[in-house]
Subunit: 156 residues, 2 copies
DNA sequence: ACATCAAGTAAAGCGGCTTTACTAAGGAGA
DNA sequence: TCTCCTTAGTAAAGCCGCTTTACTTGATGT
């Protein structure tokens, strides 16, 4: 497939391909740093719980899954020492799910890896006289979703 | 989330979000035209079988799944009248899977829908003084995949 | 006290894929 | 020709990650 063929592909295809390749490369690099036991959904969970933490139900909403699914993810991460269920200040049945140090470490490593990858990509684009199409992608998202952006679904 | 916030998001996030939204809108419109019983993987199957058709194993390769999975997809589509298994000219156990008229109709409808959607999107971008970032996306794909582009995985 | 509501959990189901294991049909070499 | 290897296809089971259905538990308001 030549560059020419690629440029004449559907926008939808180009977006999907670029996304999947970028995500795969990110995962490859992250695994190489020793974090091989976590999938994208876990990384997104960490993002969603950063700072004050959240309840399972809040997590479910942020991830765009049922609260049962969120509960299962929390079960799994708790077993493996990435999160803890602590009593919720607001009381009730609520439990506040918070990140452990282990999760914070992972967040840091993931952030570093992603920024490095994107920086290298930016450089390659600049070498080719192209820019990173942030504004264009943001505009596409705006056009399609308006003001309430739904969760990015953590599919592979 | 403001435009500003969006533009400062990770490139990976922007790509994923744009892709998922575009695909969802495409599916929404296609369903509205009465083709509600097919998922992206089926559309990709139709693309892969267009023209002379292919064997299940070839289909598997083009979709990036096992040949058993491809066989199951073909079973399903055959039951619903979208494809047929015909004797393969090269003989052996091979069977040539070919599209029926019903599948060609769907391909046409899907093509029309997608082009219309992308054309509208292009117009909106132009109104905002932006272009469709084909070259940029193609370059990203090139950088990450080199010359052999793997199949776009049909995840939702 | 009682109804109601929200958070959480438990269990089963399910879709779509992989893994494992097998059958069927050539082709090549002794 | 007989056997071996290769390739296409199929069958069955397993599995992962999610949803659906149904329940329990605690707080709130009247």
């Amino acid at each position: 497939m030549s560059d020419d063929a690629l440029e004449h592909s559907e926008l939808t295809f180009l977006l999907g391909m670029a996304f999947q390749l970028l995500l795969a490369e990110f995962a490859r690099r992250l695994n190489a740093t020793g974090h091989a036991d976590l999938r994208p959904v876990h990384g997104m969970t960490f993002q969603a719980l950063r700072g004050p933490g959240a309840t399972s139900s809040e997590l479910a909403e942020r991830l765009g899954v049922t609260k049962q699914a969120a509960g299962q993810i929390v079960d799994d991460l708790e077993r493996r020492g990435y999160v803890e269920r602590t009593p919720h200040p607001a009381g009730g049945r609520r439990k506040l799910v918070v990140l452990t140090g282990k999760a914070h470490e992972h967040l840091l490593a993931a952030g570093r890896t992603l920024h490095e990858l994107e920086a290298q990509l930016t450089e390659r684009l600049h070498e080719a006289g192209l820019h990173v199409p942030r504004a264009e992608l943001a505009a596409i998202i705006r056009v399609l979703a308006g003001d309430d952006i739904p969760p990015l679904r953590p599919v592979w």
